[in-house]
Symmetry: C2
Amino acid sequence: MDIKKRLIIDMDGVLADIYEQLIKLEFEETGTKINRKETLGKTEIEAFPNCLKHVRQKGFFRNAPVMPSAINVLKKLNEYYEVFIVSSATEYPNSLEEKYYWIEEYFPFISWKQLVLCGTKTVVKGDIMIDDHFKNLDFFDGKTILFTQPHNYEKNENSHERMNGWDEISTFLL
Amino acid sequence: MDIKKRLIIDMDGVLADIYEQLIKLEFEETGTKINRKETLGKTEIEAFPNCLKHVRQKGFFRNAPVMPSAINVLKKLNEYYEVFIVSSATEYPNSLEEKYYWIEEYFPFISWKQLVLCGTKTVVKGDIMIDDHFKNLDFFDGKTILFTQPHNYEKNENSHERMNGWDEISTFLL
């Protein structure tokens, strides 16, 4: 029997579509509809004037939309890999419970044993990491997959495999 | 400059005195004062009839007493080691925020970056682990310290260094 490879998967910007959530909240607050194209190459804070306010408000993570195809692909990956969802969350204590219930709602096949809420990801070990941030991928020992998001658009990713969405990941890992 | 060794420290039964909290709640509920000696060799569930009810109730973790000498010793350890507090918490989602604020109150020198709330500890890597459970220590790659608690009393610990409290750890690690 083969031992399953351990797959470390990020939440914000990988499973949860944070830019869509920020576009919606910015529109509700200011009436300005920021186009996704305008955010290319910008961090969330640079792209959304009220980013920090919105991220800190109750419900931000609980009501975030799911990234397209994430549910079906993760369901499959969960059969063939030892999956852990590892999320930087302790900076925003109100996000902890919200992230738990968000996973429970959209990914009910992921158990509480597979969830890790932390501050820095240097402390986790695994075989493959999927993340949208270099600061996480650069310190990981195993194979690294950079999940395309506006803030990492066109940035150099020589050392990481770039994937544009969950369908590409499905083809690559399954 | 030496790179600091990474020290992984458990919360329940190591930093937080869970047996004391259960003795108090059992007494408040039933009027029966369970003696710590009666709990030797028993898990919390075996020793306390209302354990599961109490663990699940709001405030259980937030109001748990701190283990003797834990604050002063951890403050010192935090200077000489790269400390991470790693707690099994995702089984009880209400514990997530409680554990965050408990650490913030009693260990304000520990930042949110040093906190990891997870389901299983097989996913963390480090040099030294302090824990009261074999299920965590047995799967750790580095040096392992078994923190004496009633449930692990007199159990075989050939492969782990047994420590009876924070003062012993201080002498051993500092």
